[in-house]
C-alpha cells in the first residue's frame, strides 16, 4: 500500500484525429449538453417567483395632505411607516429639522421625499421606528445604526438603508417597489455627523 493505485491508460486517438463515428458521438454529446442547459434554464425560469401583489409592484402612498391626515407628525419630520411596502416615508426637510432641533413644519415637501426600505441591509431584520433618544434608525437584531436619511453610522451593516424610487403622479406619491436603490456606501456623511459614542441609543 505504499504506492497509489493507477487507473490505467486513457484510451483514445491522438488529438486532431477523429473518426466519423467519433464525430457523431461527440455531436450527440453536444446535443445532450445543449438540452441539459436548456432544461436547467427552463427550470430556473419556471421556478422564478411569480409576484403579483404586495411588495414588487407600484403602490400609491397618497398626497401630502392624506399622509398628514393619517399621521400629523409627518409634517414635523417623524417618518411615516407605510406598512404595505415595508418602508418609512420621509419628509426630508422636516426630518432634518427634527434632528437639528429647528422643528420646522413642512406640509408639502414636493420632490424632497425618501422611501427608506425597512429591511436592514445587514441580515434582513425589520428596522423599528425612529429611536427617540438618538433620532437614528437602530436595528435591534444586530445593532446597525442609521441616520434619519438612512446613512450608516455604526454596526455590522455593509451600507446605508436601501430605498425605493418615488414618483409624484397627480400630486400623490407613488413608490415603485420593484426598483430597490442600494443604500449609500459606508462613510457617506451628508447630514447629521454626530458621533456614535456621544449620544444615547435604543439598541446596544
Amino acid at each position: 500500500m505504499s504506492q497509489l493505485p493507477t487507473y490505467g491508460e486513457v484510451p483514445g486517438r491522438p488529438i486532431g484525429e477523429m473518426s466519423r463515428r467519433g464525430f457523431m458521438r461527440r455531436m450527440l454529446g453536444v446535443g445532450v449538453a445543449i438540452l441539459s442547459v436548456e432544461f436547467l434554464a427552463g427550470t430556473v425560469n419556471f421556478l422564478w417567483p411569480n409576484v403579483r401583489s404586495g411588495l414588487g409592484g407600484r403602490l400609491t402612498i397618497g398626497t401630502p395632505a392624506e399622509i398628514i391626515a393619517n399621521d400629523p407628525a409627518w409634517a414635523t419630520g417623524t417618518p411615516f411607516a407605510f406598512n404595505r411596502a415595508r418602508l418609512f416615508f420621509l419628509n426630508v426637510p422636516a426630518a432634518k429639522g427634527l434632528v437639528d432641533g429647528s422643528g420646522a413644519s413642512v406640509t408639502d415637501p414636493g420632490e424632497e421625499v425618501l422611501a427608506l426600505y425597512r429591511k436592514c441591509p445587514h441580515l434582513g431584520c425589520q428596522i423599528p421606528p425612529l429611536c427617540d433618544q438618538s433620532k437614528w434608525f437602530e436595528c435591534l437584531c444586530h445593532g446597525s445604526k442609521y441616520t434619519i436619511l438612512g446613512e450608516k453610522r455604526a454596526g455590522p451593516a455593509p451600507r446605508g438603508m436601501d430605498s425605493f424610487a418615488v414618483e409624484v403622479v397627480e400630486g400623490a406619491y407613488v413608490v415603485d417597489t420593484s426598483r430597490i436603490v442600494g443604500g449609500p456606501p459606508e462613510g457617506t456623511v451628508t447630514f447629521d455627523p454626530r458621533d456614535t459614542a456621544a449620544i444615547p441609543h435604543c439598541a446596544g
Binding site: 505504499s2 437584531c141 444586530h142 455590522p156
Partner: protein, 204 residues
C-alpha cells in the same frame, strides 16, 4: 496475479494456434484444459477471473482477516441503531421542541439568529466585509472540502503520516466549532457580547 499475465491470456485468446513448443508456464497459470490429443505440452489455458489484489475477495485469503456480515456486522449495526433509537425516544419524551408565537414580519425579535450550524457564518459576517464572510468563505469552504482528495496526494492514510494536512483540517474544524459556540452562546440582543451566565440567547 499481474497485468503481464492478463496480457498473455488475451493474446492466447486472440491467437488460438500457439507454437507447440512454447512452455505452458509462460502463458499464465490457471486450470489446465486438454490441448490437441496426442501432442504433449500443448495444454491451453483460460483466464477465468482477474482479481485485483486490494479487493475484498483475496486470492491468498488468510482465514483470520474477515468476518461474516451475518451475524457480526449486522449485530454491530443493530446495536448502534438501537442505542440511537433509545437516545432519540428519551430525548423526544423529555425535551420539547421549541415553538414561539406565530411568525410576524412586523415584530422584530431582539435576537435574530440563524440555525445553529450557520451561526459561525453569522459570527464571521460581524467581523469581516459581508461579501467575503457571507459568500466567499462558505463557497471556498465547501469547494475546498470537496477537493480534499485531490489536494492531499500523499500515499499515506494514517493521520500520523500526514500531520500537516491533519493539523490544518482540525484547525478549520475546531475554529468553526469555536466560532459557532461564540455565535450561539456569547451573542445576545444587538449581536453584543453576552456571557452565558448573564443569559442564553439560543434556540435549537
Amino acid at each position: 496475479m499481474t497485468i503481464e499475465k492478463r496480457r498473455n491470456a488475451t493474446a492466447d485468446k486472440n491467437a488460438p494456434t500457439q507454437a507447440p513448443n512454447v512452455p505452458a508456464v509462460e502463458r499464465g497459470a490457471g486450470p489446465k484444459l486438454p490441448g490437441p490429443p496426442g501432442v504433449p505440452g500443448t495444454e491451453r489455458f483460460r483466464l477465468l477471473a482477474y482479481v485485483k489484489q486490494e479487493s475484498l475477495v483475496r486470492v491468498d485469503k488468510r482465514p483470520d482477516e474477515t468476518l461474516l456480515t451475518w451475524p457480526h456486522l449486522l449485530r454491530a449495526e443493530f446495536l448502534a441503531a438501537l442505542l440511537m433509537g433509545v437516545v432519540l425516544v428519551v430525548a423526544s419524551v423529555t425535551i420539547r421542541a421549541p415553538l414561539e408565537e406565530m411568525a410576524n414580519a412586523g415584530v422584530t425579535p431582539h435576537v435574530a439568529k440563524a440555525p445553529w450550524y450557520f451561526l459561525g457564518l453569522q459570527e464571521l459576517i460581524s467581523y469581516f466585509n459581508a461579501t467575503v464572510a457571507g459568500a466567499f468563505l462558505p463557497i471556498i469552504y465547501l469547494v475546498g472540502l470537496a477537493l480534499v482528495p485531490y489536494i492531499d496526494r500523499s500515499p499515506y492514510k494514517a493521520a500520523r503520516d500526514r500531520k500537516t494536512m491533519w493539523v490544518f483540517f482540525m484547525c478549520l474544524m475546531v475554529g468553526g466549532l469555536l466560532i459557532t459556540i461564540i455565535g450561539s452562546f456569547f451573542r445576545g440582543p444587538g449581536w453584543n457580547w453576552v456571557w452565558p451566565w448573564d443569559g442564553i440567547f439560543f434556540t435549537l
